[in-house]
């Protein structure tokens, strides 16, 4: 069993507080993604789980063991590094077998396990090459091979795809997803790429400035972000934020409007809101549509990007603020044409302004 649990975990370098008290539970066999902008502490947190950084305070358990003071080797984790960390003077076979060599495994055992790992990763033909003869994607496979050969309870991935080009990144992303299904091990994956997070994760942990912003399933975070940061971070193009004024509050609903937005009643779950107060209305570009006749939002087309299956339109609202709409299908809009946009109030999110 490899449940991972972090309780009020903190990390300081002198006076710099990098991780400011984090509580995370990762279930056995779960694929958990730490996502956040650079400098948010996600890699540090992963390295603390691996044992490469010590924990300033709090408690960390892997399985049933408190691992705060355990060296990396005794935590039962394997890690795949952003820079691959392949040993340059060893062949692929020796690299993959490294953990077994260290543990003093027999040659027959090593051969069998390396062969199995190579089969899973489809790299049998690479085994006798040297790292310098491999492409980036192949090196990544070797690094993953070295991780899976010891059958660890927990896999840690530190931005494993960020050194690959876009096409390869997508392939490897799918492979890692399949690998997780195949091995059923607990995996923690660090990335700054929200697409990787959305596609791979069972559970996403959004971090910012060393604090957890929200933890949840990808769709939960997407459809019900807890705060402005999560709302803006997940989804591409990112969510539009419109400054509005609260006109009326009616139980769980609030009526909001601004110069470019006709009054609309939306959920006030993230309240409390008071009448006359400023608030922020979040609208996903994908949930905006072109109004037949008069819509709720009034503006003019400033830019269109036609992507074939999708058209991204930038509209300058009446109050001068830009708004992005991602419309399905290929559509043509003359620049400067008046455009009214509409949306389903159920898809709108109302946030209290962050101070």
């Amino acid at each position: 069993m490899a449940r991972i649990s972090l309780k009020d975990v903190k990390k300081c370098y002198g006076n710099a507080h990098v991780i400011k008290g984090v509580d995370i539970e990762v279930e056995d066999g779960e694929f958990c993604v730490f996502v956040g902008p650079s400098g948010c502490g996600k890699s540090t947190l992963l390295r603390m789980i691996a044992g490469l950084e010590d924990i300033t305070s709090g408690q960390m358990t892997i399985g049933d063991k408190v691992v705060n003071e355990l060296p990396p080797a005794e935590r039962g984790v394997a890690m795949v590094f952003q820079s691959y960390a392949i040993f340059p003077h060893m062949t692929v076979r020796e690299n993959v077998a490294f953990g077994l060599t260290i543990a003093g495994a027999s040659k027959a055992e090593k051969d069998a396990k390396v062969a199995e790992a190579a089969r899973i990763l489809q790299m049998e033909h690479l085994l006798d090459r040297r790292p310098s003869q491999l492409s980036g994607g192949q090196r990544q496979r070797v690094a993953i091979g070295r991780a899976i050969v010891r059958k660890p309870q927990v896999f840690l991935f530190d931005e494993p795809l960020s050194n690959l080009d876009a096409a390869l990144r997508m392939d490897m992303r799918m492979e890692i997803g399949k690998l997780h299904n195949q091995l059923g091990a607990t995996m923690i994956y660090v990335t700054h790429d929200q697409v990787e997070a959305m596609t791979l994760a069972d559970k996403i942990v959004v971090l910012k400035d060393g604090k957890v912003m929200q933890i949840g399933a990808p769709m939960e975070l997407y459809h019900n972000p807890a705060n402005l940061f999560v709302a803006g971070f997940l989804g591409a193009p990112s969510m539009n934020f419109i400054d509005v004024t609260v006109q009326a509050v009616n139980g769980t609903k609030a009526l909001v409007s601004n110069a470019a937005l006709d009054p609309v009643e939306v959920s006030a779950a993230r309240g409390p809101f008071t009448v006359g107060e400023k608030a922020i209305l979040g609208l996903r570009p994908q949930y905006l549509s072109v109004a037949e006749g008069a819509g709720r939002l009034h503006g003019a087309v400033a830019l269109t990007e036609r992507l074939g299956a999708e058209t991204v339109v930038e509209v300058t609202l009446k109050d001068g603020k830009p708004l992005i709409a991602a419309l399905s299908q290929d559509r043509v809009f003359p620049l400067g044409a008046a455009g009214d946009l509409d949306f389903d109030p159920a898809t709108a999110h109302l946030f209290r302004p962050e101070v």
Binding site: A73, M79, I102
Partner: protein, 357 residues
């Protein structure tokens, strides 16, 4: 290829000029002059014209032969014993004015050994001092190269850590390198002094007077060893810095990956550090070997080749002969021999440590 770079770049050539002239005058020209002189009987100052003498200098320096002698027997055919050892005919009778053995003329005994039985084999050399110099130099190189490289690596591993004040240690270990070897040699002559030297005092104190004072530089059995020890100490810091630079090119993630795989300290060294230092090791080995072959200043300051030629070295002989005895052609021949030795050893080292793929 008359490119713009080589022809029209006058400023460039003017700037490089002084260095090119100096290198040509003090490195390249002497190199070829030495090769030329070594085939002549040129002297530093001499009224006689220079003559081409072919390989005579080399024959004189490298002439070695063996001679097996039977012991002297009395009329009854029994071996004559002298001081409990068989007596052998005098070598002088063979090497001096002996018309039967012109090939042995002027040779002297280098050493002798017995291969069982009564007869004894003598190894004769035309220039015994030079032979001793070659042997001493090789001993010096064979001890200094591995020990200095090993110690330097050990120090480099020790100071390649993030600790408070680690730079103080780096500076301390590097200090002897900065001091001139002549100054270091003078200081160590005081340390090694036979009467009241620091080393004798130290050994006497820690052994409560059990270890008697040793005249480290005056005793043929300790002189070379003392110079070896001091030389290793003096330059170890330099090679430590080279090792350190090699250590710092190894990616820290490799160490992290090894830590996660559970490698012990020795396994980390064996599988990551040492393979990562391959090129550095080749460089250090070649540099130490070449420097060690050039052993001169320590000898010149501390022992002058003595006692009993126990610290003669090739370079000391070259200078002693070329300038001391004004035999510039003999000195040149020694330099050329040294050049050939060092070149061959470097080539062999490079071949042995080549990248096998």
């Amino acid at each position: 290829m008359a490119s713009k770079f080589t022809v029209s770049n006058r400023t460039g050539w003017l700037m490089a000029g002084p260095a090119v002239l100096l290198i040509a005058g003090f490195v390249i020209l002497p190199f070829f002059l030495a090769i030329g002189f070594s085939f002549t009987n040129q002297r530093l100052v001499s009224p006689n014209p220079t003559e081409f003498t072919g390989l005579a200098n080399y024959r004189q320096l490298l002439g070695v032969t063996t001679l097996t002698l039977d012991p002297v027997r009395d009329e009854a055919g029994a071996v004559v014993m002298k001081d409990g050892e068989p007596e052998y005919p005098s070598l002088r009778s063979l090497t001096r004015n002996n018309p039967d053995r012109p090939d042995l003329a002027g040779m002297r005994e280098w050493f002798s050994f017995s291969t069982g039985g009564d007869s004894r084999t003598y190894v004769l050399a035309r220039d015994v001092v030079f032979m001793k110099a070659i042997v001493n130099t090789f001993i010096f190189v064979l001890v200094v190269a591995p020990v200095q490289a090993g110690l330097a690596l050990g120090l480099a591993l020790l100071i390649n850590q993030r600790l408070r004040g680690i730079n103080v240690f780096r500076a301390i270990y590097f200090m002897p390198v900065v001091v001139s070897i002549v100054v270091v040699s003078l200081l160590w002559r005081l340390i090694y002094d036979g009467q009241s030297g620091l080393l004798n005092n130290l050994l006497g104190t820690i052994s409560f007077g059990l270890i008697p004072p040793v005249d480290w530089l005056g005793n043929p059995s300790t002189a070379l060893g003392s110079i070896i020890a001091m030389s290793i100490w003096q330059a170890v810091g330099f090679h430590m810095v080279i090792w350190l630079s090699g250590l710092q090119t190894i990616s820290p993630t490799l160490y992290e990956a090894a830590a996660i795989e559970g490698a012990s300290k020795w396994q980390v060294f064996r599988y990551i550090t040492w393979p990562g230092l391959r090129n550095t090791a080749v460089l250090i080995l070649i540099v130490i070997t070449m420097q060690a072959f050039g052993l001169f200043a320590q000898i010149d300051v501390m022992t002058n080749g003595g006692p009993l030629d126990s610290t003669q070295t090739i370079v000391f002989q070259a200078i002693e002969r070329g300038y001391g005895k004004q035999d510039i052609s003999g000195g040149s021949a020694i330099s050329v021999i040294l050049f050939v030795i060092v070149l061959s050893i470097s080539l062999i080292q490079r071949w042995l440590t080549r990248e096998k793929s």
